[in-house]
Amino acid sequence: MKKKKFKVVVKQEWCKSCEICVQICPKKVFVMDHFYSSVRDSNDCIGCLQCEKLCPDFAITVTPIETNDNE
């Protein structure tokens, strides 16, 4: 079975750099980029949505990427 992929986006205008996502993500998808959280590599995302649900600032969205099995 092919691994599901996700698009992870940080809306930096709303990010308050609390670092919850950076420390909670089991796959270390996020890193701090100066003042804001940023996505290191969304290929590692397993779609657990912990970051999205625990981001108090509505700054993170995780959406599944439609993948074509023949790809």
């Binding site: 709303w14 609390c18 670092e19 919850i20 420390q23 625990l54 981001c55 108090p56 509505f58």
Partner: protein, 270 residues
């Protein structure tokens, strides 16, 4: 999940501090509304004063930001005047159990069909970190610099004893449980309460080092110190010191106020 459809985007980003747990609770409320498919026009979100009090400003419902502690009183009138509205009260620990304590217990007693989400950060955040009715004994705040001499209210047990239909408690770390409890709360006929321990790094965390100073530290502290209510039953008071007991405190089917008042209306016409 598209949160933006429920937000007044021009009012964002919200006022809450970095690492504050209130946004996490708000998201859980919005996810639940989305799951239940409630129409925005049929939702009224009401608050009192304080950090939690700012919630209505950000959501695209019928929103009412009342006086300190009085949200439940306003909600009582609104729900009875328009029973088709889903009336959600968001309130804080001080708002709900200090200045608004009387309204909280009496709405529970008459089992009014409203949903109350208590954002319990165990401190007065908006005014700068004074102790609240849920600040634990001997913990520090800006008005208890040597430790709080008072005992804390157990909000969930208070609501249960006062007669609520549904009461559950969780923490801002345990979002899956929070979703589950808020959904049950929203679907329950009668007075239903979800108390969520929230993290206030700016005030509580700063003054009480054991929780950690940052929001994320406080979330992990909640994770480490959470005890399910079922397990807590077999633990001594000493073992429960500093623990956060969570779970469903009560879930019962009893007549709500409207049901009883409909009998009153029938009786009046005899």
């Amino acid at each position: 999940m598209d949160y933006l459809q429920y937000l007044r985007k021009d009012k964002m980003p919200h006022i809450w501090c970095d690492g504050c747990g209130h946004g996490i609770i708000l998201k859980s409320i919005l996810r639940t509304i989305d799951t239940l498919g409630w129409e925005k026009d049929n939702i009224a979100l009401i608050s009192g004063i304080g950090c939690s009090g700012r919630t209505p400003g950000y959501v695209d419902f019928n929103t009412l930001h009342t006086t300190h502690g009085r949200a439940i009183a306003f909600a009582t009138g609104l729900k009875l005047a328009n029973p088709k509205l889903h009336v959600i009260v968001v309130t804080g620990d001080g708002d709900a159990t200090a200045i608004g304590g009387n309204h909280f217990i009496h709405a529970a007693r008459r089992n009014l069909d409203i949903n109350v989400i208590v954002f319990n950060n165990r401190i007065y955040g908006m005014t700068g970190g004074q102790c609240s009715p849920t600040t634990p004994t001997l913990k520090k705040s800006t008005t208890t610099p040597y430790g709080n001499p008072d005992s804390a209210f157990d909000i969930s047990r208070l609501a249960e004893a006062a007669g609520a239909s549904y009461v559950a408690r969780t923490t801002t770390f345990h979002v899956a449980k929070m979703d589950q409890y808020i959904k049950a709360c929203f679907l329950k006929k009668g007075f239903s309460v979800v108390e969520a321990y929230s993290n206030c790094p700016t005030s509580y965390g700063k003054m009480n080092k054991e929780t950690g100073r940052r929001g994320v530290d406080m979330l992990l502290y909640q994770k480490d110190n959470m005890v399910p209510i079922e397990k807590a039953k077999d633990m001594s008071d000493e073992e429960l010191q500093g623990k956060l007991v969570t779970g469903v405190f009560v879930d019962r089917n009893i007549p709500d106020y409207t049901e009883n008042y409909s009998i009153v209306k029938q009786n009046s016409k005899k």
